[in-house]
């Protein structure tokens, strides 16, 4: 049986709050780090979370107004976790690194947020019978997985494991 609109809205509300949390966290991290590449990368992650929140809002509007939901095209981010060992920070940053600094914690907190979102989207994409929610959540899960990969790779690089 398809979920009731109120159930879908409630899930979308929770997802939107999580995206807002990510947005505020990355925005604050961008302001706090001194590494120029790190600043740009955190800003880009913050923008991604805003885009996700926007897509969620679009689906919420479609559910309320019983209209069709159309997924926009994914913004091309310049970050690539595969082509560089240090996808988020400059390579010089590693030389200035101390064990207990803000940036390493920011990478770990970011991973926690991304894992949380990934689990949430994957679970609801699996369970939902609403095709639009299924498709949007599957898409967002993939996107969060990209973020997670970059954050993990960056932490490993800084800790000298790459």
């Amino acid at each position: 049986m398809l979920e009731k609109p109120a159930q879908i809205i409630s899930v979308l509300k929770e997802a939107t709050q999580a995206e807002n949390d990510g947005y505020h966290f990355y925005k604050s991290a961008a302001a706090r780090t001194r590494d120029p590449k790190g600043k740009a990368a955190f800003r880009s992650l913050a923008q991604d979370e805003l885009d996700h929140a926007s897509a969620l809002k679009g689906l919420q509007h479609a559910v309320r107004s019983k209209s069709k939901f159309k997924l926009g095209r994914k913004r091309q981010t310049k970050r690539s976790s595969h082509s560089t060992k240090s996808p988020l920070f400059s390579t010089q940053f590693k030389k200035r690194l101390k064990e207990h600094n803000f940036e390493l914690s920011a990478l770990r907190i970011g991973q926690m947020l991304e894992r949380n979102s990934l689990e949430f989207y994957s679970k609801h994409a699996r369970r939902s019978r609403n095709p639009e929610m299924k498709s949007l959540f599957g898409y967002l899960a993939e996107w969060e997985k990209d973020h997670l990969r970059a954050l993990v790779q960056q932490e490993r690089y800084l800790r000298g494991k790459l």
Binding site: K13, F25, S54, Q60, A106, L113
Partner: protein, 171 residues
Amino acid sequence: MEKQERLFQIVKDAIRVENDGYQFYRMAEDKTTDPKGKEVFASLARDETNHMQILKSLYQKVKEDKQFKFDEIKDMKHILETTSESPIFSEAFKGRLDQSHFEMSALSIGILLEKNSIDFYKRSAQEAEESDIKQLFAYLADWEGEHLRALVKQQKLLQEDYWTEARFYPF
């Protein structure tokens, strides 16, 4: 992995977990404009620093082959005031919810961090073999539990009004 090496790994991971909390609460303290929020986030950050000190002393004791005594640290706990209706932010904060997006996210992220720490310490307490070390991890789990209760209480007090007020911020 040898028992001692495994314990060192757990303690190193615990210090990282505490440092994440410390860095996050320091950032929240700097960013919030609510005076009570500033004080409470500073106090949470201090607690995480105290936890790191305890863990570093445990590491040192094990390294020097000395016995870690739980009794020596068991009275260090600073009690976070959780009886008031609004344990983190001032009473006036509720009237400024439409401008409090960072603070509402800080509560959600703080809750996730504390839950992670509690899970970590509970697992570590189960894994530890020495009674004093088991007690220490259970004590830290309990201490983080107090942080969690305060954050959850504050979030519950504000969440519904925030969602109504913010109408799915940022739109």
